[in-house]
């Protein structure tokens, strides 16, 4: 079948198996024959076929990883479009309509008769969807990556493509020179290796071979009069009726197809699962090579269309299906406000600021909710919050909930870039901002409507772009009806993981799940209306009203736990006569350090606190003893949990003492209604074993409970990996249960040291190393290839901690100083460690996360230790 003018694919392109490459001749509807180049994994009698369509100016090489990692039994076909790649060059422009028809002719010629999932990137997306609409009977699903099917009204088209479209520019840029071909692969983030960039450019070596690249750009229907416009519009509208599952894979750094194209696609395919690959750009299959695994998994799990009910698309992002409506409606978070509508006692006290009573708060929330509804905040809308903890913020949160909308809480601990990524990723519709928040929102370029938390001067409002202010909205709500109570199974909050390693993940809760969490916290800590809370830890500062207890907002920077002094804590405690304090160990360390400045009155207020909850990490025994002086009546408790499920267990100081030493940190027993199980390690260090409760078995800690998150937001593949088996949440923490049913946490799954003798967990080694005199902190990490790593212990010595000064982020960024320990210290640490330790290093500090100031970034420690222990990186010049 090889046509005479077939151009052979160069041998040995990276990642491309030459056996996939084939040419065939296909006649189009006019009878004209064309030579096609196709990559085809050649699976016979396939379960189904993945039809992969590249865009401009790439070629089928883009899909090599999907061919290499095809789902079991599936055929993968990736053609080079006519005029492109190694397919035949064309005498003239090929329109969108023709290209869709061409693809149908090709699949017919290739004998593709069974189920098909289309996969499209860039302008291959719209062509693949055109094929999909013409082959509905065999269509099983659609996968789209960084593509567009329509130009949102008034849009001028992707700016870069538009530039290439300008008269005179197009032919010069796209055809006359390889600029366009080369620029496309240069967009890749992280940058592509040279041999891969060369492989993409290989078929486009001359102006003659690039002709279709220019024609492709010319065929993009920017104007309403464009000949391809009707075909494009038919496809864009047609896909609204697609009943098959859809998967959207997106690189958010795409300068060609920005967020608005994703929003447009989600509007047309509302049931689509979405995975955003943070850091990836336009060439998603290159920037996020793991996309191939995600596609293979998604395809392998497609519902069988012959089963009843299976045609219903699954929930977005793979979340849990709504609980059947038989369940009673969950207690709403604002229930206590309604119940205490006549209560004049303080609900929220700002230290050094205003005090809001329960009655006022209830009134304010109802008016704000009505005002929000009247000014365009709809149920299901997402509302970002860029407001410092305050009474205003509290009122705004409960009003958003009351209006049926979703709060998106991105705290400052993520940093500006992290917050921007989080808020853009969560696709917020509105954002409520303090003055600093308004400026930040503007800088972030969020396409959300901006609401100022307080009155702003008209000039500032113009500059900062605030559409409304909360006082105005409250006014608007005076005469408006309070919205209907939203469904208990609707989303209510998007929170973010700490982002200590990698981009922060959005975590979605429904109101039912949030309600279960609040009920569990109330029961665990026996909270009653008589209690009052001081929470020095975002976002718990917001939860007082939902827990039905008065709360004070201490005058501190919640992102710098170290800024909480003893007197600041005492002022907050006495402001509400608090009985409960919630703070991180880092904050408590500062409290102890500044305790001498307490007055007698402040000491007396602190003496009435009955419960101290530490957030993020357990309070070390030494710190607990010191706290007894400051908070003499407080029972210290540490809940264990994570952004995705909190609390899972709880442990008191007494229980920690009773448990004694073990391999890891004892975090107590699972709370009522919470199931904890272990997914055991295999010999390779992966924790994939069937769930077990067997005492002493180590592996990944898995949790099932009513208050576990609904799903990760816009992270389909992450959600799929974390929610195994269905209904469980894999925490990413490793540990074991003991014979008494207590859970011991041994570290994070990515920090497990994978030695030739099997996996080792870091926390136990670190605890033993920290008992060596003079050692204040330790991190145990693996160096070397997985399955053959050696253990390295990095210690910080007494007096060398230089981390207490400077801003958190600046401190984080500074390079660690590390050196080999003296032989005596090495001997002592080795003797204590209990495992073979290849090297003991001394560092000036350990990098910790910003939110808790306690989670050691062992990956960073490992990277730096690995570099140091590899010796010189300099390749000797002038090699003989």
């Amino acid at each position: 079948m090889t046509a005479g003018n077939a151009t052979p694919v160069p041998p040995a392109l990276p990642g491309l198996d030459p056996a996939w490459s084939r040419h065939l001749t296909v006649a189009d509807r006019t009878g004209t024959e064309h030579d096609w180049h196709v990559l085809d994994n050649g699976v016979e009698n396939p379960v189904g076929t993945l039809l992969c369509v590249h865009g401009n100016p790439t070629w089928s090489y883009l899909w090599r990883r999907l061919l290499a990692g095809a789902p079991a039994g599936w055929r993968v076909i990736a053609p080079d479009q006519l005029g492109m790649g190694w397919s035949q060059r064309l005498p003239g422009l090929r329109s969108l309509e023709q290209r869709v028809a061409d693809l149908g002719d090709l699949t017919a010629a290739l004998g593709v008769t069974g189920p098909v999932v289309t996969v499209g990137h860039d302008w291959g997306g719209v062509i693949s969807l055109g094929w999909a609409l013409e082959h509905r009977a065999q269509l099983r699903g659609v996968v789209l990556a960084n593509t567009a099917v329509a130009m949102p009204p008034g849009d001028l088209g992707p700016a870069l493509i538009r530039l290439a479209h300008a008269p005179g520019v197009r032919s010069a840029v796209t055809v006359g020179t390889p600029v366009f071909v080369r620029a496309t692969t240069a967009l890749s983030r992280p940058p592509l290796p040279r041999d891969v960039r060369d492989a993409f450019a290989a078929p486009y070596g001359s102006a003659a071979r690039r002709r279709a690249v220019g024609d492709f750009v010319a065929d993009i229907p920017f104007s309403t009069g464009h000949p391809s416009r009707p075909a494009q519009e038919a496809i864009a509208e047609g896909i609204r009726s697609l009943q098959v599952p859809a998967l959207l894979l997106w690189g958010p750094r795409d300068p060609v197809f920005g967020e608005r194209y994703l929003t447009d696609l989600r509007g047309r395919l509302p049931h689509a699962a979405l995975h955003r690959y943070e850091g990836a750009s336009h060439l998603l299959p290159e920037d996020a090579p793991q996309y191939a695994t995600a596609v293979a998994q998604w395809v392998a799990e497609l519902p069988d269309p012959s089963l009843p009910g299976s045609a219903l698309p699954g929930p977005a992002d793979g979340g849990r299906r709504p609980t059947p409506a038989a369940d009673e409606d969950p207690r709403p978070p604002w229930a206590a406000l309604t119940e205490r509508a006549d209560d004049a006692s303080p609900a929220v006290v700002e230290v050094g600021g205003s005090t809001v009573s329960w009655a006022e708060l209830n009134r304010r929330v109802e008016r704000l909710a009505a005002g929000l509804a009247a000014t365009g905040v709809r149920p299901g809308h997402r509302v970002g919050l860029l407001v410092e903890p305050s009474a205003d913020l509290t009122a705004a949160v409960y009003a958003v909930w009351r209006a049926g909308a979703v709060v998106v809480v991105a705290d400052k601990g993520l940093g500006f870039r992290g917050m921007r990524r989080a808020l853009r990723g969560a696709a917020v519709d509105h954002v409520v901002c303090g003055t600093a928040g308004l400026a930040a929102a503007r800088l972030m370029g969020l396409p959300a409507t901006r609401i100022a938390a307080s009155s702003v001067r008209p000039a500032a409002r113009r500059v900062l772009g605030a559409v409304r202010t909360l006082p105005e909205i409250e006014d608007a709500g005076r005469d408006a009806p309070v919205p209907a109570v939203p469904s208990g199974d609707a989303d209510c909050a998007v929170l973010f993981t700490s982002g200590a390693t990698g981009p922060a993940k959005g975590v979605v809760y429904t109101r039912r799940q949030a309600s279960a969490q609040l009920a569990l916290v109330r029961a665990t800590y026996r909270l009653t209306g008589e209690d009052r809370l001081v929470a020095a830890f975002a976002p718990f500062a917001l939860l007082g009203p939902a827990l039905g207890i008065g709360s004070a907002v201490p005058d501190i920077d919640v992102t710098a736990p170290g800024s909480l002094t003893a007197s600041a804590l005492a002022e907050a405690v006495s402001a509400v006569d608090a009985t409960v304090v919630f703070a991180s160990p880092a904050a408590l360390r500062r409290v102890v350090a500044t305790a001498p400045e307490l007055t007698a009155g402040q000491r007396s207020a602190l003496g009435r606190v009955r419960l101290l909850m530490s957030a993020g990490a357990p309070v070390p025994v030494g710190l607990l003893a010191a706290l007894r002086d400051v908070l003499p009546s407080a029972e210290a408790h540490t809940p264990y949990g994570m952004t995705e499920a909190l609390p899972v267990t709880d442990v008191s100081a007494a229980e920690i003492a009773e448990a004694g030493d073990g391999n890891g940190v004892c975090v107590g027993r699972p709370l009522p209604g919470v199931e904890v199980a272990i997914s055991p390690f295999g010999p390779d260090g992966a924790a994939d074993g069937a769930l077990t409760g067997t005492p002493g078995t180590a592996g990944e800690i898995c949790v099932r409970a009513a208050h576990v998150k609904d799903r990760y937001d816009a992270l389909w593949a992450t959600e799929r990996a974390a929610a195994r088996p269905a209904g469980w949440h894999r925490t990413g923490d490793v540990g074991h249960l003991d014979a008494e049913g207590r859970l011991w946490v041994e570290g994070r799954l990515p920090h497990v040291i994978s030695t030739a003798e099997g996996p080792l967990t870091p926390v136990g080694i670190e605890q033993r190393a920290e008992r060596v005199p003079g050692v204040t902190a330790a991190a145990a990490v693996g160096v070397g290839p997985r399955g053959g790593q050696v253990v390295v212990v990095v210690v910080v010595l007494d007096g060398s901690e230089s981390g207490a000064s400077g801003r958190p982020r600046a401190r984080q960024a500074r390079r660690l100083r590390m050196a080999v320990a003296a032989p005596d210290l090495a001997d002592a640490v080795r003797a204590a460690a209990g495992v073979d330790v290849a090297a003991v290093l001394v560092a000036d500090r350990l990098p910790v996360d910003i939110r808790h100031q306690s989670k050691v970034d062992r990956r960073r420690v490992a990277e730096q230790a690995g570099r140091l222990l590899a010796g010189t990186r300099r390749r000797a010049a002038g090699d003989r």
Binding site: P785, G787, Q789, V820, P823, A839, G871, R875, A876
Partner: protein, 330 residues
Amino acid sequence: MRVLVTGASGMLGRATAEALLARGDDVTVLQRRPSGLPCAEVLGDVADPAAVARAVRGQDAVVHLAAKVDVTGPRAEYERANVHGTRTVVGACRAEGVGRLVHVSSPSVAHAGAALTGVGAEPADPGTARGHYSRTKAVAELDALAADSASLAVLVVRPHLVWGPGDTQLVGRIVERARAGRLPLIGSGAALIDTTYVDNAAAALVAAVDACGPVHGEPFVVSNGEPRPVGEVLARLCLAARVPGPRRGVPFAAAWLAGAVVEGAWAASGRRSTPPVTRFLAEQLATAHWFDQGRTREAFGWAPHVALDEGFARLAAWYAAANGTDAGAR
């Protein structure tokens, strides 16, 4: 079993012959000078076909250790001992119908200068190996493996940095320099390196003799499996020998450059002694090289039985006993 050990005058050859004798094998040794070992002995050069044929005749297995191990000297000397020596031994094994050959090589045959961290036995490459020793050993290893056949099972063992009491190659030189106050710590001294206590290496070679046959045609890395920062290894060796530890702080680039200059000067002056530093040595002391020996343990049914700490203790005891005789600093 009748086993020939070539190169029994060196520390590892001697230990291997002793280990084979201890388990009752009928051992012959081949080297240039009398070994003093209580076994049959052929004196001769490993590149001399007549001497080698005489030694190989009638053996069940050959453990070939004889080699020129050094960091300087003309290439021809390495060629003769390492390349021609090995070819002579391989040829004699074939001619005399010996069934098993355990060829002792070095991890440096696959070391191109960059850090090796947790790797297995990569293929030998004379094109990228560093220095005359490593290059000629790479050629020899490839020659030996090429002779692997149905009638002659060839197995390659690469012990890494073997040390122990009586060692003149590694420990002796380090101690001598340290005593003279010219043992530099190149770079940060943090590069992780694997070493092998001599008894573990000898046990591995005995295990290789037994495994050779079912296992063949493959190189295996042998080490203690306890990598340590190079500065720590040097310090502990010096501690055992009761000499001052390494001086701190010679940057790698300076050491490498000095090595290049010194090598040139030594070559130009025709001196035969060992120069204080060479490029090869600078790289060896500043770059990680530690290995995954999982495959070796599995194939040989062997594991190191003398831990590093025990090895240092034995070395210290040996130096204490030899105190005053200056045995370590020949």
